[in-house]
């Protein structure tokens, strides 16, 4: 800013800029005085733009750059991160989970557990779908039942399976009976499969037409979608929660990271997803942009996918965990944009125990345990995809070298993503693989138990009668005290046997223009509502 130092009558342009930012003068006042300093009205306008342009905007459109295009708009046909970023805005759930991790009313204004297997939801009156149809309990019943209907072409069938039947005594009351007590039903209806679709419209147009021209009740309405180019959503002016702060939200796929960041820095987009930690500084130091991060409601773990020696030995697995210096990984690779976990119950989960210490790094104890395990130098293979998780390859290289430092004969193999997926399905890993379990309902049941229960995605070999008894008991109990005790003990057992070795809890990082006021959610959804999105305007 070559003009910023200009001075007249004791006031510098710097001082003027400060006064404007502090609200001591208006934009008009700034312009009037700046003309005197910089010589012309045009130069003063330019100066104003430079001084405040980065901080405020006159835009009425929010443009979001995601790492890939969306695939479907029917909320029950996809659960990918890029799709749910859209569907949680097109549709509403009965309840919604906000930044503090708690459930809040959305389409339901009240909800209660009537008895251990009966939940009652009271709906918000006068809510309308985008086509003007009223939203009633019949739509809720239809949406939930479709999500697990064996004949429906949906992929959400595993989510609301605890529901036995749904009653709709009146248009604003929904009563859900579960097969067994389900402490997480409220959490389930707040997540995917719980989005409410219009029964009448859907039955009129069918699956394909609905997916092409979706109707919801959310704060934005579908306008158009050019695949791989842009999805345009118009603000729903009649939204029950108030119109959002923009007239339009546009989702653009920008798969190449460098191009995505360039588009943000140049101001072509207002918000981008998935910034790797090594690009945080570039975005946050740029004059117009900032980074917002939130601890991911999940973990990056190493999964012990085989029982081939030496992995069958408990002290060996404990040595593997103790040999990993997680602090260094967080500090050096993640530039501080991650946390060291305390176990398999993460910070954002119910029943997280804040008194537990972060997982320990102790190479000497690791060496001791290797002796105890009678380790003879058998080869240990870590199989990693590249770019499936942020920094997976880099973390793998570091961890393998840490293992070598304590005497483990570790080897790294890099796999193409689809081969990796194939190996997950076939359960054919040689030893250790990466996994990034999400805590689906902010509860240990949605992560620790879901992944390690019999048949779970990471239950390769681990079975422990007490662990199973507690997991089953807590899943079907509405006694939170009992559940807390159960998960504490399960977390301890998990750390003893280590079927999963937690490594880090990463931050989800988003890049934003400074004028966009919005905070990301831990569960990767992007909810834009009147209460949480603000475009700072001059």
């Amino acid at each position: 800013m070559e003009d910023v130092g200009a001075k007249r009558d004791g006031i510098t342009v710097d001082g003027l800029a400060r006064m404007l930012r502090d609200g001591q003068i208006t934009r008009r006042g700034f312009l009037a005085r700046a003309v005197g300093l910089v010589g012309s009205a045009a130069a003063a306008e330019g100066l104003l733009a430079r001084v405040v342009g980065a901080q405020t905007t006159s835009k009425n459109t929010l443009v979001i750059g995601q790492s890939a295009d969306i695939s479907k708009l029917d909320p029950q046909m996809s659960t990918t991160v890029n799709d749910i970023a859209v569907t949680f805005n097109l549709y509403d759930n009965l309840l919604t989970r906000r930044l503090d991790g708690k459930l809040y009313p959305s389409l339901a204004t009240e909800w209660k557990l009537v008895n251990p297997t009966t939940w009652q939801f009271k709906l918000r009156p006068n809510v309308k779908f985008h086509n003007g149809d009223p939203l009633t309990s019949a739509d809720v019943k239809f949406s939930f039942e479709r999500s697990y209907d064996p004949n429906a072409k949906v992929i959400t069938k595993s989510i609301l399976t605890t529901i036995d039947k749904i009653e709709t005594p009146d248009p604003l009351t929904v009563v859900i009976h579960t097969k067994q007590p389900d402490p997480l039903l409220a959490a389930r209806v707040a997540f995917y499969a719980g989005q409410i679709m219009p029964k009448a419209y859907f039955q009129k147009v069918g699956d394909d037409e609905f997916n092409a021209k979706p109707i919801g009740s959310g704060p934005v309405k579908f306008a158009s979608w050019v695949k791989d180019d842009r999805l345009i959503l118009d603000a729903n002016r009649d939204y029950w929660g108030g119109k959002i702060d923009v007239d339009q939200i546009i989702f653009r796929p920008l798969p190449e990271l460098a191009a995505r960041i360039a588009a943000l820095l140049k101001g072509e987009v207002d918000l981008i997803t998935k910034i790797p930690p090594d690009h945080v500084e570039r975005v946050s130091k740029a004059p117009n942009t900032k980074v917002e991060g939130v601890l991911y409601a999940g973990l990056y773990c190493l999964s012990v996918a085989s029982q081939k020696p030496p992995l069958d030995s408990k002290p060996f697995r404990q040595a593997m965990s103790l040999a990993i210096d997680r602090q260094i990984i967080v500090k050096e690779l993640w530039r501080g944009q991650a946390g060291v976990p305390t176990g398999l119950v993460v910070k954002s989960d119910n029943h997280f125990d804040p008194t537990l210490p972060p997982l320990k790094y102790d190479p000497n104890q690791a060496k001791q345990l290797l002796k105890e395990a009678n380790y003879k130098g058998e080869e240990l293979t870590l199989e990693t995809p590249i770019g499936f998780m942020v920094m997976d390859k880099e973390m793998s290289e570091v961890i393998v070298s840490m293992w070598k430092d304590v005497g483990i004969n570790a080897k790294l193999e890099q796999l193409e993503y689809s081969v990796y997926q194939q190996k997950i399905r076939e359960k054919s890993f040689k030893g250790i693989r990466w996994t990034d379990p999400t805590s689906a309902y902010n509860d240990p049941d949605g992560m620790m138990w879901r992944h390690l229960a019999p048949g779970g995605p990471n239950a390769y070999w681990f079975r422990h009668p007490r662990f199973d008894e507690l997991g089953n008991g807590a899943r079907f109990s509405v006694d939170e005290k009992f559940r807390e005790g159960a998960y504490k003990e399960m977390a301890r057992l998990e750390l003893e046997f280590l079927p999963l070795i937690p490594v880090i809890q990463p931050m989800e990082l988003y890049g934003l223009q400074k004028y966009v006021e919005w905070k990301p959610y831990a569960n990767q959804t992007m909810e834009f509502r009147r209460f949480n999105l603000k475009m700072r305007r001059a």
Partner: protein
């Protein structure tokens, strides 16, 4: 005239055989590469659910039955429904054709407008500083990876100089950087081939004769050299156009250009067989049509070829 008709008929037949081979190979390779079903369902989906979806998509039938169904649908222009988008695969691909053609032809135009004159001048001024510069730049164009050129162009032309948008499709300014990126390799190849073809002709006896007769240098180049150097240049130009049509994956990804290449790659990751098959069919069709046109151009340029 009969010779030309036979020539065309033969080329057309070869075109169809090529298309059939390509489509069949893709069918087999895609099925060898893995199962799409688990990629469509959440990680904890039950086995029964996977089986149901597999049955619904016809993937539980023997591969030769699948192939029979596929071929009989393909000859009717039906490549099935996209597994990922759950809509007609050909339609999904067809929506990308305008973007692909737009980018390919813009790159192509960029390439020939720059490369052919540059190649000719380079040959005429062989050994000069100009020649060295052009060939040096051409070497960089051929050697530098597309993603590097693309990202550099974004950094310099978009971010620093602010001349063009970083990505997307819509206005003409958004077409510039992807066209230059995609056209860089073609530009370099065409310039080099043009230079060597022209050099070869420049040394021919009839050029010496033309010069001896006192034909001005400009007309010697335009009338004698260019016409005779055309065959290798047309060949490389045709091949490059084919490449531009089908090989824009990296450019399309960097610039978020909604073309066929990017769709094909995503669909391979998603194991979306119908889309991949449609993409390959469409690209192969464009490629063979271009090749066919090149063949016809040969015939027009050089009667010996169509008689042979």
């Amino acid at each position: 005239m009969q010779g030309l008709a036979r020539f065309l008929a033969y080329r057309l037949l070869r075109m169809l055989v090529a298309m059939w081979c390509v489509v069949t190979v893709v069918f087999i390779v895609m099925r060898l590469s893995g199962d799409p079903v688990p990629l469509l369902l959440p990680p904890d989906a039950p086995i029964a659910e996977m089986e149901r979806l597999r049955h619904e998509m016809g993937l539980d039938r023997p591969i030769w039955v699948q192939y029979g169904v596929f071929m009989s649908q393909a000859v009717h222009g039906d490549f099935g429904r996209s597994i990922h988008f759950r809509t007609s695969a050909l339609q999904v691909v067809w929506e990308r054709v305008p973007a692909t053609l737009e980018l390919a032809f813009a790159s192509f135009l960029c390439a020939i407008v720059v490369a052919i004159p540059a190649g000719i001048l380079s040959a005429v001024k062989r050994g000069s500083t100009y020649d060295n510069i052009v060939m040096g730049v051409a070497l960089i164009g051929q050697a530098a990876p597309t993603f590097y050129i693309g990202i550099m162009l974004i950094l310099v032309c978009s971010l620093w100089l602010g001349l063009f948008p970083t990505s997307g499709r819509g206005e003409w300014r958004q077409l510039v950087l992807p066209s230059v990126t995609l056209g860089a390799f073609a530009m370099a190849s065409i310039a080099r081939i043009t230079r060597s073809a022209v050099l070869e002709i420049l040394m021919a006896d009839f050029i010496r004769t033309a010069r001896a007769k006192g034909v001005p240098e400009f007309w010697t180049i335009v009338k004698h050299v260019m016409r005779n150097a055309a065959i290798p240049v047309v060949t490389i130009v045709g091949l490059q156009l084919g490449n531009l049509l089908g090989g824009a994956v990296v450019t399309e990804t960097i610039f978020s250009w909604p073309g066929i290449g990017r769709l094909a790659i995503q669909s391979i990751y998603n194991r979306d067989y119908p889309i991949v098959q449609s993409c390959v069919f469409m690209t192969a069709a464009m490629f063979v049509v271009v090749n066919f046109l090149v063949d016809v151009t040969y015939g027009l340029l050089d009667p010996r070829i169509r008689r042979g």
